[in-house]
């Protein structure tokens, strides 16, 4: 296997280091945690979308034989008005704590109100039925635009709107209002030859990971707490749990278990403090695993949105101005994802004048959380729609139109960011040059093709890595990034590349919070980038120490030792890495390399594009994907198979979001589709093999040119699907999901209009 580009390891496709354990079922996920004396917990959840808790009587549950402890929100420490920033932006600690266990009010159906632990899960379940909660049911608001209206039922009577960075003192469901502005949009719109404005709505959707949330905790008699959990960030879980329990992080050790998907939804904590408190009360370890309905009803969906996009262009095809109004649900508590949407909404294009106007709105749904490129998919769906209309109006090929306006090095985004070297144009060119794009568009009845372009900015943040050299020349790497997509192997590959080692001689393991330096969450497409960088730096540290050992052995100065292609040499003497490793005990003992990183600049954003071919059943509105290609800039693909896996996964999720996924609440504000039967993510029969094209425009801000690839790929699919549907049946939908009933209704409405027009 050779990787080209002078690399030996990077760019190859070694067998995944955690693969055997995963396919044989030996991998230990959070739910597999077993400890002696383990108790099982269950959580009681509010059936009401909005209610005041008048009283909770736990006495009958406590009296049930086998029940070891019962907990309510009153048992959590009082938090006051403390503001904390624990990996999800600044938040009021009370909100975080109340989301774990409600105190005064329940703000969504599924909101936890009490928890029990018992000697088995069935007793715990039975105990839940014995807890008596008296609610005063309040009027709920589950529609974004309703929630924004004056006079809407208010979730937090004391929450005041923050506007342009200042506290307005006004209470409403509007948590935050902010704007970004560049140039002079008004004048630019006035000068534009074509201006198009459209309005969009997208439904609340779930990340759709298969493994439910879980946590097992042991609160030791000495006050030390250990938590085993599937999380995207063991340090974030530790910090959030410490904050909610009001205990120092040094008292908590989080042991990350294998994780069955997160996509942003396993950054926040839900069960960890409950498991800890139940363990404290019972003196035994306690495990909780959410039921599937609980996962849907009470863990981070990603926001539904209401978006208006206005764009103006000149006859020559240059976009001169853009304006966006973006309102996002943030669920029961403020602090949603509209900020990220603002960074993505016009991010693919070079536009000199623009205004982005954003609203973060609370309503009676579970607190929204990140989902793969959070906010970008909704924004992309809206922007790409208007981009297509502009191109059509101007009579310019939509791909040419995008190329003409493509963001590039030096483009200043409306939110102020100036791009370094980026791969936007190259991704568009890869569409143009692809076999899929060049092949004839499907031409059967009701078939069509669409393209789209999306973006995610990626993040850097802190990572740590230690590398212990074994005397047989292998290396044990310890790192703190929980591995969701094969990152142990891609990190080991970057280490191996640096020292010209065989990748199978480098074993990376994800260790607990006591065993490695602070490492931020597996999110923001940062792990291969930042933790990979830490691995690279720790390899250089190993190299330097090994040079010293060689110098000792050969009795030369260290600067006389060279290291090249895996061989240490000085004059006519040389040792391979393996040989020198056998001499560590004579030269001072073990070698441990270590490194930490916190890159604040150099994070390279990633662009992704799609070509989608579909067929629509005009009688039923059902959309079938015929062919689908995803193109993405990886900077440098460390392990191309994992990059392709990310691209395919993001596409599958994006297609689900496009076609069927939505939270369906009944009139009482309860979620009616809290199962994978009725929350319809695509099955294997719903997707063609998703074709991938990796573009590599190296990121100048990373030693190997890496750009994170975990997220940008979910942004373009709904827009591409909407384009393909429009091409197939002549109707361009402005609402997600484009489920059969919506497609059919839109077709019938447009036929109705056509008939009216013909008749009139």
């Amino acid at each position: 296997m050779s990787a080209g580009n002078g690399y030996k390891v990077i760019g190859t496709r070694p067998v995944r280091h955690d693969g055997v354990d995963k396919v044989t079922g030996r991998a230990v996920y959070g739910g597999d945690t077993r400890l002696s004396g383990l108790l099982y917990g269950q959580v009681l959840r509010s059936p009401h979308a909005h209610a005041r808790i008048k009283s909770i009587d736990i006495s009958k549950a406590q009296a049930l034989p086998g029940v070891k402890a019962v907990l309510t929100g009153a048992d959590l420490p009082k938090t006051g008005d403390t503001i904390v920033d624990l990996g999800e932006g600044p938040a009021r600690l009370k909100y975080m704590s109340d989301n774990v266990l409600a105190t005064d009010k329940t703000l969504y159906s599924g909101h936890p109100v009490a928890a029990v632990c018992a000697s088995n899960v069935h007793i715990a379940e039975e105990a839940l039925d014995l807890i008596e909660v008296e609610y005063e049911v309040l009027e709920a608001v589950l529609n974004l635009r309703e929630a924004m209206k004056e006079g809407a039922p208010q979730l937090h009577p004391d929450m005041t709107t923050q506007e342009f960075g200042e506290d307005t003192g006004r209470t409403s469901n509007l948590a935050t209002h902010f704007q970004h502005k560049l140039g002079d949009p008004d004048t630019a719109f006035a000068s534009a030859d074509v201006v198009i404005e459209r309005e969009f709505n997208t439904a609340t959707v779930h990340q759709g990971y298969i493994e439910p949330h879980n946590a097992t905790a042991m609160w030791n008699a000495d006050g030390q707490i250990t938590i085993w959990t599937s999380t995207q960030g063991s340090f974030a879980a530790r910090a959030q749990t410490g904050a909610v329990l009001d205990i120092p992080v040094s008292k908590i050790k989080v042991v990350p278990q294998e994780i069955g998907g997160g996509f942003g939804g396993k950054i926040p904590i839900y069960l960890e403090p409950i498991a800890a408190m139940l363990s404290k009360a019972s003196g035994q370890p306690v495990k909780l695993i959410m039921t599937r309905p609980a996962v849907f009803e009470s863990t981070g969906p990603t926001p539904g949105s209401h978006i208006k996009i206005k764009m103006g262009a000149n006859k020559d095809g240059k976009i001169v101005a853009a304006e966006a109004y973006i309102a996002f649900e943030s669920g029961a508590y403020p602090g949603g994802l509209v900020g990220a949407a603002a960074m993505c909404v016009f991010s693919c294009y070079d536009i000199a004048n623009g205004l982005i106007d954003c609203y973060d709105v609370v309503l009676n749904k579970p607190r929204s959380f990140a989902y793969r490129a959070p906010g970008s998919t909704q924004a992309c769906f809206a922007t790409e729609h208007v981009v297509e209309l502009l191109a059509a109006e101007l009579g310019i090929d939509p791909l040419e139109f995008r190329l003409k306006n493509s963001a590039t090095t030096g483009t200043r985004r409306i939110d102020g960011v100036v791009y370094p070297k980026m791969g936007c144009k190259e991704v568009l060119e890869a569409i143009r040059d692809s076999e899929h794009y060049k092949s004839a568009a499907p031409s059967g009845p009701n078939q069509g093709r669409g393209i789209s372009l999306g973006y995610w900015f990626n993040v850097g943040l802190q990572s740590a890595c230690t590398a212990s050299v074994n005397n047989d020349g292998t290396v044990s790497l310890s790192e703190g990034s929980t591995d969701i997509g094969g990152s142990r192997t891609s990190i080991a590959m970057q280490f191996a590349e640096t020292l010209s080692l065989d990748v199978d001689d480098v074993r990376a393991q994800v260790v607990d919070t006591d065993s490695i330096g602070h490492t931020d969450v597996t999110g923001g497409s940062r792990v291969t980038y930042a933790t990979g960088w830490a691995a690279y730096k720790s390899a250089l540290d190993v190299q330097a120490q090994m040079c010293e050992r060689a110098a000792q052995l050969w009795e030369v100065e260290v600067d006389q030792v060279a290291f090249e292609e895996g061989v240490f040499s000085s004059g006519d003497k040389s040792y391979t890495f393996k040989e020198l490793s056998g001499h560590l005990d004579e030269t001072g003992g073990p070698v441990i390399g270590r490194a930490t990183v916190n890159p604040d600049s150099g994070v390279g954003g990633s662009f992704a594009a799609n070509i989608a071919d579909v067929e629509v059943d005009p009688d039923t509105g059902k959309v079938q994907v015929l062919r689908f290609t995803v193109i993405q800039d990886a900077g440098k693909a460390i392990h191309p198979s994992y990059v392709e896996g990310q691209m395919q996964g993001g596409s599958a999720q994006g297609i689900g979001w496009a076609l069927n996924e939505e939270y369906y609440y009944n009139k009482d504000g309860q979620l009616d589709n809290s199962s994978y039967l009725d929350y319809r993510i695509p099955t294997s029969l719903d997707l063609p093999m998703i074709e991938t094209i990796i573009v590599e425009v190296p990121n100048p801000g990373h030693p190997f040119g890496v750009r994170g690839v975990g997220e940008a790929n979910i942004a373009p699919p709904p827009a591409a699907m909407a384009g393909a549907i429009a091409d197939a049946i002549g109707v361009r939908l402005q609402e997600l999901p484009m489920k059969p009933s919506n497609v059919l209704a839109a077709t019938q409405a447009s036929e109705g209009q056509a008939a009216l027009a013909a008749g009139g």
Binding site: H122, E125, E126, D619, T620, K622, L659, N660, Y664, D672, N673, Y676, L677, D678, R680, P682, T683, L685, D686, K739, P740, S741, L744, A745
Partner: protein, 302 residues
Amino acid sequence: MKDFEYCAPKTLREAVALKAEKGEAARVLAGGTDLIVQLRGKRFAPDRVIDIKNIADVNELSYSPRKGLIIGAGVPCWRVYNDAEIAELYPGLIDSAAIIGGIQIQGRATFGGNLCNSSPSADTIPSLMTHSAVCNLIGPNGKRKVPVVDFCTGPGRNVLEPGEILVSLQIPGIKKNTGAHYQRFIPRNEMDIAVVGVSSQVVLANRGKEFKEARIALAAVGPTPIFAAAAGEALAGQAVSDEAIAAAAAAAQSLATPISDMRGPAEFRTHLVGVLVKRTLEGAIARARGKFVANAVQEAAG
């Protein structure tokens, strides 16, 4: 899930005694693909679960032109569609059996369980209705027969007395020039519950140019599966034509009483009844004329 007593009787007599003793507090277990999910979801909390799969009578699967087809209440779907003779004679039943869940579910799920679960969206019930299936029941007071069209009384409710058990389903032999077809609409291509399901059965006359008889039944558009008798009867004696089919579709639509829920709005469902009546009548006509019409699984397999 609450603790319960598990019994696996070997005879119908024992099973009936066990059932009669507890009445509503006992539940029969056939494939368990509905029941176990419901127990875990706390929809039922029975004291006793009676597994019928060890009883010889409920494992019968047989066909003879005179007695027709007998499907024992313990026979899983795969046994039915794996039987070449039955699959050849009753493609309209196989349409339903082959789409219930996936292969693991079909290894366990029974027609009887699908019927006794009495969900409005059950995939086999419309097909059983158009095939004029009859239920063989046994209870403390002996045996009785109930036509499937009279079996369901509401969502999850049916005519079974507290001590009664379904033994088998009996489906008449197939007359000449008969064809049947079942289709359901689901937003995905598998692992979904019918938004609407329609079964049509036709008997053609006059060298396939005329309807002699027709039966149409609907799923998921009312509190029970609906036997749309009037829609089928109106076709009898008519020439096979697009107009006649359209009229039958409209008649079926007028019998549908759907609700709006997470599976689709009511008006969409009514619209789909029209679409599927047309498509299944066309499939049934083609089959009656001896043409091969693929079922959903054959179609997916290419």
